[in-house]
């Protein structure tokens, strides 16, 4: 079997020639074309290392991972399960066929709390192995201590990657004086920048996360019970690549995001509850573009726009394609 290890320090990857569904499903150009990266079997077995960190024992780590896996497993519209296979001395990151989660110290990664890597089948894109390390350069807590990052919240985010989800841009940030960005607010666990120390909000999935995992691992009737919206983002008569498109359900208040994924500016947001939506388009300027796409050419020089039509998403189908025109900054 041909295998290739793809390490996703911040889950950069993606940018394909054809639109994929919402959020970012991780994909790669492999033999035979672009493939979505996802598990082809369930339950997915995972191991926990024996490593502990300051304030978190190995047992607490395992229990916290179990809870975070359970959060994704509990999504009723997604069909994926997990099984704890035991403790191991093997560190995360080894190409050994085992999916291992554990603490590791990476002082060189002074802005990376955790990272997820994969081994995938280069023919099908099926995940063979996925490892996650949590960087002990930072302080961790399982109880929401105010001076440490919440392990369960970050684990929930990384397990999203473990499942094949990329980052979501449903969040707002501000530049910090010392460099880097600080999150003001977010509407997705898969937003690339973690909440501050002591904040446990990301323990719970949000509609964007639920849509992402449900489209990737749909239960039998998910496609019939939900719908999608499709369109193009245009600037001066040309398509925009990498524009962030947000669908807001006017009844439920749910937010689900996606991107225009090619030079024509085409986007497709799937897994939406049937109903009426407002649409907002914004540039990818609340996080580093390379944590979303590994291709250059992301145009961020346009103004945020609210689409002037209410979009009706049908059950079991898609909207007609519509164009959202934005203006240059």
């Amino acid at each position: 079997m041909m295998r290739r290890r793809l390490v996703l320090a911040l889950c950069a990857m993606m940018a394909t020639a054809t639109p994929a569904s919402a959020y970012l499903q991780l994909s790669a150009t492999l033999t035979g074309g672009v493939k979505v990266i996802k598990w082809g079997r369930s339950p997915v077995r995972w191991f926990s290392t024996n490593a502990s960190a300051s304030g978190v024992t190995a047992a607490e780590f395992q229990q916290t991972m179990n809870t975070a896996f359970g959060t994704w497993e509990a999504v009723p519209t997604a069909d994926i399960t997990f099984q704890f296979a035991g403790f191991t001395n093997a560190p995360p990151g080894e190409d050994d066929g085992l999916s291992v989660l554990g603490f590791e110290r990476h002082d060189d990664l002074d802005r990376t709390l955790a990272a997820t890597g994969f081994s995938i089948d280069m023919l099908t894109g099926a995940i063979i192995e996925s490892d996650i390390f949590f960087n002990t350069t930072f302080g961790w807590s399982v109880s929401g201590a105010p001076n440490a990052f919440d392990l369960q919240s970050v684990a929930t985010h990384e397990i999203g990657h473990f499942l094949g989800l990329g980052h979501s841009l449903l969040g707002e940030t501000e530049m910090q004086a010392g460099g880097g960005r600080r999150v003001i607010a977010a509407a997705s666990v898969m937003f690339p920048i973690a909440f501050s120390r002591g904040v446990t909000t990301d323990r719970e999935l949000q509609p964007d996360d639920v849509a992402g995992v449900s489209v990737t691992y749909p239960v039998g009737d998910f496609a019939q019970d939900t719908g999608s919206m499709q369109g193009r983002v245009r600037l001066g008569g040309r398509g925009l690549f990498g524009a962030h498109v947000v669908a807001f359900n006017l009844r439920t208040g749910d937010l689900v995001g996606g991107f225009s994924l090619n030079a024509e500016g085409e986007f497709l947001i799937g897994g939406l509850a049937p109903g009426i939506y407002a649409v907002r388009v914004e540039p990818l300027d609340d996080a580093d573009a390379d944590s979303f796409f590994d291709e250059p050419g992301i145009d961020v020089n346009f103004k945020v726009a609210l689409y002037d039509r209410v979009v009706a998403v049908p059950k079991g189908g898609s909207t007609d394609r519509f164009d959202v025109t934005v203006q240059p900054k």
Partner: protein
């Protein structure tokens, strides 16, 4: 002598004369089927104000508003077709089909990053099919005006442009109005109603009230 005349008069009163009985049997049948066609206005609905909110990076702060929305179904003119059956002089059971093309508008504003506010719109077709009853408050044949009250329930279907999304709800109504007789079998009808929509375009809003007014021509068969 006086007593005899009284007795005869009483007999005449309680025993219908053969000639009178014959006349009743040949009286024309009262028309019972009523068909009406008209136009009116179906009132608007508030579908609620909602913020597109993000969770704040704090254990205490309020949600962060990305933008605000205020969604309404605008009032719209429509057509109404009605078929009724007069079960008694006062009571008519009837079925009504009303059609309208209202605009659904959501005002999007207060964007956190300064996007220009817009009124996002779409048009939908609304079908309201109801069954109900009309009760005449008076039945004086010498008066052309007859006030009535009415009530009923049925189904409201909202078909969005492109027919990509069809939503159904329960519509019930109470109302009243005036019947005005133009000729023996033709008249005008003026309705004022309060409708209560549960579901459909108002899904999630509970029972949503709105007004309606209609005028129609009816013919009796």
């Amino acid at each position: 002598m006086t007593r005899l005349w009284l007795f005869v008069a009483a007999l005449l009163a309680v025993m219908p004369a053969p000639a009178d009985a014959q006349a009743r049997r040949t009286q024309p049948r009262q028309p019972r089927i009523e068909v009406g066609v008209g136009a009116g206005t179906l009132g608007g609905l508030s579908l609620g104000e909602r913020d597109a909110s993000l969770k704040s990076n704090s254990t205490t702060a309020a949600p962060f508003r990305l933008f605000a929305t205020d969604t309404n179904l605008d009032p719209a003119a429509g057509l109404e077709v009605r078929l009724g059956y007069r079960t008694t002089r006062r009571l008519t059971v009837e079925g009504t089909l009303a059609l309208a093309r209202p605009t659904l508008m959501s005002s999007l504003s207060a964007d956190a990053e300064g996007a220009a506010p817009v009124d996002a719109t779409t048009t939908l077709t609304e079908y309201v099919i109801t069954g109900g009853a009309l009760w005449k408050l008076s039945v004086n044949p010498r008066r052309r005006w007859t006030p009535f009250v009415s009530g009923g329930a049925g189904v409201a279907r909202h078909v969005h442009d492109g027919q990509t999304l069809i939503e159904s709800g329960v519509d019930s109504y109470v109302g009243g109005g005036i019947l005005y007789s133009l000729k023996q079998r033709v008249g005008l009808r003026f309705d004022g109603r309060a409708h209560f929509l549960n579901g459909g375009i108002a899904e999630g809003e509970g029972v949503s009230p709105r007004g309606a007014a209609a005028g129609s021509v009816f013919v009796l068969f």
